[in-house]
């Protein structure tokens, strides 16, 4: 059973992992790549445990994203929280 439903705008883009992430209660991160999203995949899994979440998003956003090659920048300007920059 899906642990939770999470909107894509509540997920953070993680450059290192190349994936959108969301905190997992095990301490790790649920992850889903842009390629997954483009294919219509809606399950983001945690690499450390048995849990997964359902990602709420509009598939078309990611089809366009690929064509324009603007990647996360397009998204972050509208909905995504800023990525982490450590001072």
């Amino acid at each position: 059973m899906s642990y939770d439903d999470v909107e894509i705008e509540d997920m953070e883009w993680n450059e290192e992992l190349g994936a959108f992430t969301y905190p997992c209660p095990c301490g790790d991160l649920f992850q889903i790549t842009k390629a997954d999203l483009k294919l219509g995949e809606e399950i983001a899994r945690c690499p450390s445990c048995s849990l997964y979440i359902t990602v709420i998003y509009n598939q078309e956003d990611f089809m366009d994203d690929n064509k324009s090659n603007r990647n996360s920048k397009t998204l972050s300007s509208t909905k995504l929280p800023q990525t982490v920059t450590v001072a």
Partner: protein, 424 residues
């Protein structure tokens, strides 16, 4: 010297268990631990009474310990700077935060990837992930060393509670007026207790929360997207993400109950409440828990003929089963698990235990779900005489509610004890 150290050993121990993937158990390894592990602190930290541990806070994958003398040790995930060591490295064992060498800290809290520290003079310091404004510095920067929050420069901070992406700060009001509660960080689910206009999903400058009807505020709690406040007269206010799938609340809601609460601790989908009579109640449900079965258990609302409407049910505390005749003195909640300490010093845990966070031996990888509290530690008779046990991480200490996800740190004040495991 030896004698003194021996004495220390007798009066205090810190145990940890659960997920260890980022070193958050402080055992020196990245392994999960399904059985409680006794931690060793740096010799300096254990050298005197002032170095005794007085509070422990657990974040998403990091831990903070406060000593009676006001110094701070941190360990676990440090990738966002949440350990305050001036770097972004993980740390496998408790390590003193040098920044606070000349500052006496009196209260701590750990969020998903950020940390908060209150000094005895009322200054507030934060570090770690600031990408949602949860550090309160007016921007969205992260910090790897504790940084003073200037908003509170002319105020007197007393307590801080850090959630997944937000923070709450209880601050002393001007004389004659009551205290104030401030919130900052993500407010997507209402956890800031103040209505944000639709274009703003977070705030980086602390904002005052109102609506506590003049009640004297004594404790704050934050975890996941939930927030809660406890008043001196036992009232509980709760806001943020709705429990059991109900709608979010953007303003503090007074829990409609005649019960008098003395502690509150939050998970990601549940709240644990302790009453002044030592009974434990719950809102929401933990992973795999069946809310329905619990609901048949009791009459806890002041009005017996309450309408069975969904929102009302989600705000109606249900008694945790299996605790008849047991007086509880301390409670703690992880993201999806819970723990409590009974008056005779026994620790019980229940909820999600996949990573060992319940402290039982289970087959690795097994998804363990336990709906009823079970004993994990039984202490010696001699310990019963000092019923001031407190556990953290799932657990928590009576006064500060900080518990967190997957790992558990157990803090016990009392005589040295051996643990015995009792199969459930």
């Amino acid at each position: 010297m030896e004698e003194e150290e021996e004495e220390e050993r007798e009066v205090e121990e810190v145990w940890s268990w659960g997920a260890g993937s980022e070193g958050q158990l402080g055992t020196g390894s990245f392994d999960d631990r399904h059985l409680p592990q006794l931690l060793s602190f740096p010799p300096r930290a254990a050298a005197s009474a002032a170095r005794r541990i007085s509070q422990i806070a657990c974040g998403g994958a990091h831990s903070i310990a406060l000593t009676a003398g006001g110094s701070v040790l941190t360990w676990g995930r440090g990738t966002c700077g949440q350990l305050g060591h001036g770097d972004v490295e993980n740390c496998l064992k408790p390590k003193p935060v040098e920044f606070f060498e000349q500052i006496v800290i009196s209260y701590i809290s750990a969020g998903w990837n950020h940390s908060g520290f209150v000094s005895d003079s009322g200054s507030l310091f934060t570090c770690g992930d600031g990408s949602f404004g949860q550090l309160g510095h007016g921007d969205y920067e992260s910090h790897s060393s504790p940084t003073r929050v200037l908003f509170f420069a002319s105020k007197h901070a007393k307590k801080i509670a850090c959630g997944m992406r937000h923070s709450l700060v209880l601050s002393k009001g001007p004389s004659g007026l009551g205290d104030f509660l401030y919130a900052f960080g993500s407010g997507r689910r209402g956890q800031l207790g103040t209505s944000l206009d639709s274009s703003r999903k977070s705030i980086a400058v602390p904002q005052a929360i109102h609506g506590f009807k003049g009640d004297e505020m004594i404790a704050v709690s934050a975890n996941g997207d939930h927030s809660a406040l406890l008043s001196a007269n036992g009232h509980l206010y709760i806001w943020g993400r709705g429990f059991s799938g109900t709608s979010d609340s953007h303003l503090p809601q007074l829990l409609p109950s005649s019960l008098k609460f003395s502690q509150v601790t939050l998970g990601w989908n549940h709240a644990l409440l302790l009453t002044d009579c030592g009974e434990v109640f719950m809102l929401g449900r933990m992973l795999g828990g069946r809310q329905e079965s619990l609901e048949m258990h009791v009459p806890l609302c002041s009005t017996p003929s309450i309408t069975p409407d969904e929102v009302c049910r989600a705000m109606t505390p249900t008694r945790v089963p299996g605790l008849d005749g047991v007086k509880v003195i301390d409670i703690g909640a992880g993201a999806e698990h819970s723990a409590l300490v009974t008056e005779n010093g026994t620790i019980m845990t229940w909820g999600w235990g996949e990573h060992g966070q319940l402290g039982f031996t289970v087959e690795v990888g097994l998804l363990l779900l336990l709906e009823v509290p079970a004993y994990i530690l039984k202490v010696e008779e001699s310990f019963y005489e000092k019923p001031n046990a407190a556990i953290y991480h799932p657990v928590v200490k009576a006064k500060g509610s900080d518990l967190r996800p997957p790992f558990t740190i157990c803090w016990i004040t009392g005589l040295c004890h051996r643990s015995r495991l009792q199969p459930s």
